[in-house]
Structures are given as structure tokens and as C-alpha cells.
Symmetry: C5
Subunit: 321 residues, 5 copies
């Protein structure tokens, strides 16, 4: 699906096709072509009208997982990645968007619908100046929107992290290790996505490319700043997830200590009592305790109570109870 | 809230507004404008009088978490961060301060009251030479004060660390893992704040910018030195916190060993005794031990005592008691 | 075994031997010599006809485990590595392939049959243009095929990883640590193989060598991109394998807790009961419980049932059951 | 306390004060001023006579924890650190020494008595050539002595490490974790001290500064070599200390296994015996074993012995004993 | 012990002393002086005849643990290290060999007998061309032999590693942690030795030094390749050793689980039986089970068997047996 916006004579309109004259050096028009799900017509357009190099064409048509900035004679070729909410917190899925930035045109190409591009198209149609400002400014706004869309994903990760921390520290009834490891993977996936984006945007912010005027370069620094903060946060999350594992292991071992203390206290109290009842159950002449035959039983029960109390006192002294 | 200090004719006075003439090249005045909680008037002042670039203006008005040094035509734009004591040891919160350093002026902009800036204002009004010396020296003194305010935060972290070490090594009754992990996060937050500050200040100390005369550059080296030491300390803390976790885990496992030894010793002593009393409690003809019927019981008790003593001797030999 | 393909007059044919005239500067022929299991004849060919330097000849005849790119006067010498499926998932075995890339010729040399080279030979014989395009394009296609053959190996590793994850998280009856460590080794072996390949290919993609025209350089970027992704994946696998170990250890400790709880619950219930039966088994006058002699037994059993129920209720309250 | 040594006319003498004429360019004198515990007089001397920059003066008067090399117009300013034996193996304490190296003079400044400087003073007074050789050579000898004094500290750390290894591997009765962590901190403190010293000395060894003639540069390489070795050793110690923690944890877990085996063996043997005696103690008609009433008891004891022997045999087969 | 070989007029002979004329620029002789255990005579020879700088002389006479390459006016000074088999697998001991490489001479100096140098001497005497080729080629061959002698040491480490893996995975009766840590240290010692050798040789392979002709430079690349592989292997070993520790810890914890299951199963089966026998042993009127008095006993035994069987069935269901 090809959608063409052109800015001429101070107005931005949606048109059906690209007039090659608009791309001639010095032409006053500014063109934005957005291609969603490239079809052969789109391919021909890129090749014939925009004279895109065969190799960047190939890259654009396939899924590339690494951001790329390549300078060609007539355009700057960029691959950047947005992230979309995985259903059920299933981590981070990226969708690559290709940009061909010329002096007078911007071509965007993506395989799935893109919120950022949709927003920008609406803006361009509402505000004639948006496209009139030139393709670099347009690129900046799209990329800025893409990076803004990272925020909810990062927040979702933090939510999961906090929920897991509650589970580990407060009620670790079920084994949360699988969830912790899944979160860890998602966090490091996020970092692996944002880090190269950051570096790519950083290059755009360094006045390296003639297609991007200095004023726009400055603006890219802000996007860069956002990405720096995102990578920082994901690094911070990674520390927290790692700490979570340690915490869970230590809580496990704490719990085991607790269980073993109960067992030990019980055994230490009842095993001597068993021996005592065994003693008085032996089929031998048993020495009389003071008092009548009827109070013998209570003497023994008294001895047992005294022994138990003494044991409990010792355990309390040892800080076990 | 805008507060303007101007140094002219050898005296520093607080004035109501900035005269654009003071900013003309070669003007003898030295101006310091401090903006707390920027309002539209402050924004206009920056834009119209100081001709601040729109982008650094945007940065200045929003919260930026990374220090920044950007050279513009008319000024050097800096973002640096102070830290303030979190209530209840809740870690490190940063507050960014923006600096616009020109040849003849310094503009500081912050969103919360700043101790360092308050101190410096008082100094400037008391001592005419403080502002007369030029805006770079002023910048140095403010930054120096900001970095000095890191010290109590670092000391508070060390206090928490030492208290936790006492808990872990001496009386680990409650599980300190959550506290350890919280401290770990705070320590690494501190490092993440100080590290980029250090690098930013390091650039100021390298004679890179014409706005900062060599004499002031030298002084920034001292600030840099402070930050090097702070980052060093935070790294050292990180090692200690990590060691704390290991220590706690090992103390846990030590304790478990202790508990299990008690259980094993008790079981090993009392289980044979139970069998012995069981034997003499059987309803079969029981072989007579030497002596009269009345001493049989004491023979058995004697056997039990001997067995227990032997066991205890063995356990002592095995170093369990 | 030497196999020679020559492209002349627009046609590619398999010939018996190399005519040195084809290698003269400006000769229109394009030659591809493939040497499998080099014999003395092959050695002489390389030395005498292609004037290969003695040192790269030595390298080519021995097994080298590191990729290499060395520029000689007449050719570019490359060592790159393919990987072949280890039987039974026994990790990664590499086979080095040597390339001598001249302006007009390509010599490939390998010690074991190579799928990638076989494929390319078939293609060259089917499609005259394949060799006619020049030796650099040929090199690219062979290397591309070699890198494509990494994919199934990586997938096999992922399969093993997933199977182990199932074992650890769902039914860890046997100790999977040996398998986990073996997988870890294989994954890091993969990374150690792919990483230097990536760097070597990266150099080919940087217009560094005159033997490789710019158009082919672009194509090498795609191969580089593939390898970047492979190394990324292997890094990701490494994280997952490490997580697996942690998960197994925590599941172990979980299980131990479970076992100890059962033991403690059983002991806590039955040890008091034993003491109770012991009490009533003593050879002393036992106090009468209410009711006739016949119901005494049931009174005691009732007491035991009550005690057990109370204990179970306590344990349920403590969340142990 | 200021001590001045001057070399003139081929002789080195101790004098009371510095004659500014000695510092004029081309003057034949060589001067060494050592300042211990700087007082106002020393400060004036540095400022007025040696024209030390205010900033390096400030640095010199305060305690700086990082080595520094700063080139000023008239001198090279150095901060290097010696280490002194902490009492009771309490780790590493550094004392900073400041050096001002000019063409004709060396000023050393320190806050505590320094063995290295005392030695060198004695040498200079004994051997006229020592100071006559020039201040750079003097600097080299002092620094060399300072680095030599690291050796006993490193040896003391190794001693502690070896004693701890004995404790962990041979008789870990008390919990050595606190000692291990303390040693770990000391070792990493040592590394943190030596590493920057090494880098600073490395710069002195690189012919970077005109104040240091090439011949002396060569000699600094030896000092550098020493420091390389020291940092290597401290890295090696760090590995060993880390291994120690692992070893202690594994020995803990080993011991626990041992304890639990004893408990399990005892329980497995005695619990069935208890049931057996219980059976024959029941108040029901008990089936006769072969033989007379008198041998019944021995039949039962024989059964018990057989059962115990069988159990022990099983446990031995399972490698538990 | 000084041994001098000289190549003149196409022949290599062993001579008694060095003729300084051989070292004059343009002299046709090629000289190799090997010094084992340097004595004063050797020192004088180096100083007077070869004009070795005092500092490299000092280095040569002492033990240096870091490889070094230093370019002097008349020669290239190298320190490289061989490794020798420690008796009883006691790790890696290095012996440093010093090389003074001039245009026409090579001086080797070592403190212990060297296999590599002995071999090369024999070769030189057998083959006149060996020395005639020049000192750089000679240096290459000696270094190549030194590096070849690393191989058996690496193989010995791998053997120890494999034996330990067998112990850990198959029959970990004794605690292998001490051996594992010792191996770990040896492996990392190996890496610490090989890594700087690799880097030093890498510099020799980079055409950096005029004393080494290009042809020899190429050959050093092969040595470099060997060392790259050795360091790779030692890195790989390090991974395996670390894995071994993890494996041992997990096997420990596995074993503990096993032991605890046995205990729990035994207790769970026998404790209820004890209570049952206790019940029927009480001195109260015991309710009659169906049948005659003589079968009461068997009824009870039957109940016990049923209970035990039920328990066992439950445990099997829980996968504990």
C-alpha cells in the first residue's frame, strides 16, 4: 500500500503517484512516500523513481534486526526499530522501519501498520508546515514518536518486576524462578534493542550527514537523550532482576532453616519423653517414686512437663523460637 | 522566580531586570541570573535577552537525567545534577541544574530550591569580587558546592552499609536480604549519578571551552578529583554490598548445619535408648541381668547412661559439639 | 582433487588445467580453481601458476582455527570457517576454507567436501554469468552459502536448549547439570566461531580491498548482518543457559524444602502420639479416664485424633500444606 | 619541617634555606627541598621561591587519593602514594607524597614521616653524586624505594590468604566468611592503589616530560615493571580469595550432607527396631518363635542384629559410609 | 656459560669468543651468542662488545615476569617466556629468555637450560644455512620452538580437567573443590602467561621493527596464530573449570535431596507403625479385632503391612522413589 503526500505551493496534499520532476535537484516540492507491506509496484517505484540502490532495496524488503545507517549518493538509508506490546507480557517484539532520506523526499517502508507514521500523516495533512519544513524534520518527528512508544513497554516491564518482587519478598508460595528468568530475558532483550537504536540515533545527532540540517541535528539529541535514559533504566532493571534471584534463593534457604528448627525442637522434646515412658513400661521391677501408687503416674507426667519446659527454655535462649 | 545579580563599577547589587546592554560584547558588567521554577517570563527572558537556542531552552524546561555539555554560539550549555537526602534512606534523588555560561553572564535554572546556589548568592552580595571575577569562576564555585553536597549522602550510604554488616555478621535474626538489595540499588544509583557528572566535569577541566579561562580550568580539576574519589568509594561500596549477600548466605548455611547437628546428635542418642526400653518392655521372658530383681532397673538405666556418654564422646571427637 | 572452471567468451566450462595466460593482467578469462584435499600437484599449481606466497601456502595446507585476511601483492588471502552438524548434538566442528582472491581468479582450498562450494560449482555451470561476473561476486556467494549453513546448527542448539528448559522446569528427575554445561560449552563455542568470522566479513564489507568492487562490498554487508544476528542469538542463548543452571539449583532447593516439610509434619504429628501410647503403656497405676474400662481405649484414640487434627490445622495456617 | 639539601661545586650539603639564585635558569646548583608536615613557612617557600601555582599548592596541602601528573610551566607536579603496614593486618593505608620536579630542583612534600625519603636523604649526604646527578634521578630513586615498600604489604596479604586457605580447607570450625570478605576488600584496595600508580609511573616511563631525561625514563620502566607485577599479583590474589568463598560454601554443604547421612543411617536402623520391640510389647497373644520361652528374647535380639547388619550393608553399597 | 656460533664464508662454526669486527656495520659474519647463567664475563661481553644499554643489561640479569619489546639504537631487546612442566601438575612455571637482536647478531640469555635453544644450536651446526639466513630468522625459530613447548603443558591441564570432570560427574566421593580451585588457578596462570606473549609476538608480526625483515615478519604471524589458539583454549578451559564448580555444588545438593528423601520415607513409614504397636501395648482394655485371640497379632501385622504399602505407593506416585 503506497501513500504519497506532497507539499507544493505551501500546501500539503495526498496524491496518487509521484511525479519524478519533484525529485529533480532544486525542485520546490517536498515528498513523503509511505509504503506499507511493499508490493511489486512499490519496488518499482523505489527502483525507478527514487533510484534506490539494489542492495538497500533488498535490505528494505527483508526483515533486518539491526539498525543501520548507510549513506548512498542520493539518499541516506536508515533502518530503525519500533517495539510493540507483546500480548500477555511475552517480551519485546521489534518491527523494523526503513527510511530513505533525500534532500527533497522521505520514503518510509514498513511491513506492519505503524502508529508513529499514521500519527505523522495525520499531522502533515492538518498542518501544511509539517511537511513543508523538509524531510529531515519529518524523519525526526517520526523517530521521536517511535521512541516515545518504547515508554509503555518499559513501564510494563517495571510493573512485572514489581509484582515479582512482591511475590518473592512477601508470599513466595509458588516457585517464581521461571517468571524471573523470563523477565530477565525480556529486560535484556529490551536492552539489546534500545542500545543499537541509541547508537544509531546518536550518529544522527552528530551533524554527520548533509541530509540533516543542523537545526534538526539538535532535535535528534533529545531523542538520543530519551534513548540513553531508556537503556539506563533497562540496565537498572537487569540489576534488580538479578537481585530477585538472589533474594529468592536466600528466602528458600531461610525457610528451610525455619522448617528444620521446628523439626529439631519437636524431636529434641519428644524423643526423651518417649524414652521415659519406655523406661516405666519395662517388664522389670520399677523403683517406686515418692507417694502412693496412684500418684506415680503424675510424678512421671510432671517429670515430662519439667523436661519439656527446660528444653523450650534452652531453645529460646538459643534464639530458635 | 527570577533573581538577578549584576556586578558593575566594582560593586555587586541585586537588580530587578536584565539590561540587554550588559550582554553586548565588551560590556564591563557581569550578570548572574538565577531562575527557580521557570515561568513564562523566565522563558521569554532566556529567549529574547540571552538568545538561548530553542532546543537548549526545551532541555532546560524539562527534567533531563543525564549531564550534558553543549557548545552554542553565544554560550556553553550545561546540565549537572545535585543529589538530595532521600527521607528514610530511600536512596538517591537527583535534581538537575541548567547553566548557560557566556563570556559576561551566567544563567542558572533549577526546578527546586538549591542550597549551593543560595550560598553563592549570599557570597556574591557579601563579597563584590565574587561575581566580579567573572561567570566561569562563579560556575566553578556553584558546581564545587553541589559536589560537596554529595558527601553527606555518601556517608549515609556507608552508615547503612555498616549497620547491615552488623546485622549480617552478628545477629541475623530477620532476613536482611531485602535491605541488602535496596542498599545495592542505592549504591549503584549513586554510581550511575556520579559517573557521568565526573566525566562532564572532566571535560570542563580540560581547557576545552573558551568560556572557561585556564585559571578556572585548574580549579575544576579539584572538583573532578572529588568526583573521582566519590565514584571510587561507590565502587568500593558495591563490592562490600555484594560481599554482604555472600556472607548472609553462608551464615544461613552455617546455621542450618548447626541445627542439623543438634537434631542428629539428639536422634543418635535417644533412638537406641528407645529400642533398649522397648526390648525390656516386650512380653516375653526377659533374661535376668546380674543382681536382684530390684537392681535390674538400675542396670538398664546404667546401660543407657553408658551408651549416651559413649555417643557424646564420639560426637566430640568428630568436632560436632 | 583439483577442479577448474573457466569463463571465456561468455561461457563457463569445466577444464582440466589452468592456462597461465588466463592470469595475465587484462586477460578476459575468469578462473575458479577449487582444491579439495590438496595433493602435491595442487601445491605446485598454487606455487607456480598462481604465485602464492610460501607462507600463505603453509597456512592453506594446515588447519587454521582463526579467520584471517591478509593482503598480498597479487591476491587477497582469506581463511573463513564453515560449521558442520555434529552427530548427536556434539557441538560445533569447524572446517576451514582458504580463498585466494585475485583480480581475475579465485582459488578455494578445503580439506573436506563443502556443500557451499558444490552448490556454487553447479550454479556456475548452469549459469554462465555466475562466473563471468568476476571472482569477488563468486567469493561473496560462496561465503553467503557458508554463513547460511550456520542457521541449522544454531536452530539445533536452540532445540536442545528448549528441551533442557522443559526438563528443568517440568520434570527434573535426572540431574541435567551435565547436559546444561555441555550445552553451555557448545553455545560459547558457537560464539567463538561466529565472532571472528563476523569481524573478518565486516572488513570485507568496508571497501578495504581493491580486489572487491564496491557493488560486492555492499553485498558483504548483508552477510555481515547475518553474522551479527547469529552472534546476537548465541549471546542470548548463553544468557538462557546460565539462567537454566540457576533455575535448576533453585528447583533443587525448592524440592528439599518440600521434602523437609513432609518429614517435619510427620514427625510433629507422630512423635507426641508415640509418647501418649507410651504413657498408657507404663507399668504404673494409670488414672482412669471417664467411662467404663472398655471405652478407655477409645478415649485415648480420640485424644490422638484431636491432637493430630490440631497439628494439621496449625501447619495449614503456617502455609506448609 | 623543611630540610634543604643543595649540591654545589661537586658537594652535597644540608643548608638552612633556599637561595633563589640557585633556581635561576642555568644555575649549576641542584636543590632538594623536603617538606614534612607543611607549615606556613613551607607554604610561603613554595609560593614565593619556587613559584608553585596556587592550585597545585592547594592539592599539595590537602590529602589527594589519586596519583596525578600535571605539567606546569616551571615544574612537573606529581602525586604518588606509598603504603604502610596497617596494624593487625587492617588492610592498606596510603600516604600521599607530592613532588615538584623542576630542571634544577626537586621539592618533596608529605604529611607523615617517609622511610623512602629518609633513606634517600642519607644517601645524598653520604654520596655527593646522588644529588649531583640531577633531580629526575633523585625522583626515580625515591619512587623506586616507595614501590619497593609495597612488597612487604603484598607479602602480608599473601600470608593472610594462605592462613585462611588452611582454615577453609582443613579445619573450618569457625565461620571464616568475615575474614575472607575483609581480605577480599584489602586485596581489592591494594589493587585500587597500585593500578593508578602503575599508570602514572607508566607515563613517566614514556619520555613524555622534558624534565625527565631519557636515561631516567629508562629507569622508570623498571619501576613500572615492578608495579605491573604487583597489580598482577593482586589480581591473582583476588581470584584466590573468590575461590576461597566458593570452597567454604561447598565445604559447608559437604558437611551438611555428612551430618544428614549420619542422621538418616541412624534413623533407618533404629526406627524398624523400635517397631519390632513395640510388636512384641503388645498386649495380645504373641506367636511363639521356635524354641523354649527363654530363648524367645534372643531370637528377637538376633532378628534385630540381622536387620541392622543388612541395613549397614545396604548403606555401604550406596557409598554412604 | 657462553656459547658462540658464527657464520662466515658460508659455514657455521662454534668458536670461543666474539671478534668485535664481526659486529661492524656491513660485516658479512652472522653471530649467535648464547649465555646460560650469566657470569661476570658474560656481563662484560654484553657491555663492551655488544654495547648493550645498562638498563636492558639489568633487566636481562634479573628475572622479569612480563614480556618486553624495547627498541634501542643498536638492537631490539626482547624478553619472552617459555613454560616448563611443573612436577606433579603443580601448574605453570615460566622461565624468561632475553634476546638482543641486532642486524648481524643475536644474543640469547637465560638462567636455566633451554630445550628450544639447545635444539636450535644443534640445527645451526648441522645446517650452515640456519644461521646464514640471519639473526631474525634464528629468533623466529627459537621463539617458534618455545611456543611449541607450551602445547604439552596445555594438554596436561586438559588431562587434569577431564579427570576432575569424571570425579565430579561420576564418583564425587571426596571433595574435589580444592583440586578444582587449584586447576582454576593453573589455567588462569597459563592465560596470564600466554596473553602477553601473544601480544608481544603480535608486535613482531606487524613489520614494526627494522631488525626483522618482512619475510620473517610473515613467519611470526604463524607463531602469533599458535598463541591466539592457546589463549583461546585457556579461556575455554576457564569456562569448563567454572562449570565444574557449579556442577559439584549441584551434585552436592542433589545428593542431599536424595538423603533427605530416604530419611523422610523411612520416618513416614515407621513412625505410624510405632504408634500402632504402642496403642496395642497400652495397659488398658484393648478392643478385640475379629477372630480368635491367636490371630489378633496377625491382624495387627497385616494392618502395618497395608499401611506401609500404601505409603510406598504414595511416595512412588510423588516420584520420590
Amino acid at each position: 500500500m503506497i501513500s504519497v503526500l506532497v507539499h507544493r505551493d505551501g500546501r500539503t496534499r495526498r496524491v496518487e503517484s509521484v511525479d519524478p520532476a519533484w525529485l529533480l535537484p532544486g525542485a520546490p516540492e517536498r515528498v513523503w512516500v509511505d509504503i506499507e507491506l511493499p508490493d511489486p509496484a512499490a519496488k518499482d517505484l523505489l527502483k525507478d523513481v527514487f533510484q534506490v540502490h539494489e542492495l538497500s532495496l533488498e535490505d528494505a524488503l527483508s526483515e533486518i534486526h539491526h539498525p543501520k545507517i548507510e549513506l548512498f549518493d542520493k539518499y541516506l538509508y536508515l533502518i530503525l526499530h519500533g517495539i510493540t506490546a507483546g500480548t500477555g507480557g511475552k517480551g519485546v517484539t521489534t518491527n523494523d522501519t526503513d527510511f530513505f532520506l533525500g534532500e527533497q523526499f522521505l520514503v518510509t517502508l514498513h511491513h506492519a501498520p505503524s502508529r508513529s507514521i499514521r500519527q505523522e500523516q495525520d499531522l502533515c495533512l492538518r498542518n501544511d508546515q509539517a511537511l513543508g519544513e523538509g524531510p529531515a524534520g519529518l524523519l525526526h518527528r517520526i523517530v521521536d514518536a517511535m521512541v516515545d512508544h518504547y515508554r509503555p513497554e518499559v513501564d510494563a516491564l517495571e510493573d512485572r518486576l514489581e509484582r515479582l518482587e512482591d511475590v518473592v519478598f512477601e508470599e513466595p508460595r509458588h516457585n517464581p524462578v521461571r517468571d524471573i528468568l523470563a523477565l530477565k530475558r525480556d529486560v535484556s532483550a529490551l536492552r539489546r534493542v534500545t542500545l543499537p537504536q541509541r547508537d544509531a540515533i546518536g550518529r544522527l545527532a552528530r551533524r554527520e550527514f548533509s541530509q540533516i540540517p543542523d537545526a534538526v541535528t539538535y532535535r535528534f539529541r533529545d531523542v538520543y537523550d530519551h534513548l540513553v535514559q531508556l537503556t539506563d533504566e533497562s540496565l537498572f532493571f537487569q540489576d534488580r532482576v538479578t537481585g530477585l534471584l538472589d533474594a529468592y534463593l536466600s528466602s528458600q534457604s531461610n525457610r528451610l532453616n525455619q522448617v528444620m528448627k521446628v523439626l529439631t525442637v519437636m524431636s529434641t522434646i519428644f524423643m526423651p519423653l518417649t524414652v521415659l515412658t519406655g523406661l516405666y513400661g519395662m517388664n522389670v521391677v520399677i523403683p517406686h517414686l515418692p507417694g502412693s501408687a496412684a500418684v506415680q503416674f503424675w510424678w512421671i507426667v510432671g517429670m515430662m512437663a519439667t523436661m519439656s519446659a527446660a528444653m523450650l527454655w534452652v531453645f529460646r535462649r538459643m534464639d530458635w523460637l
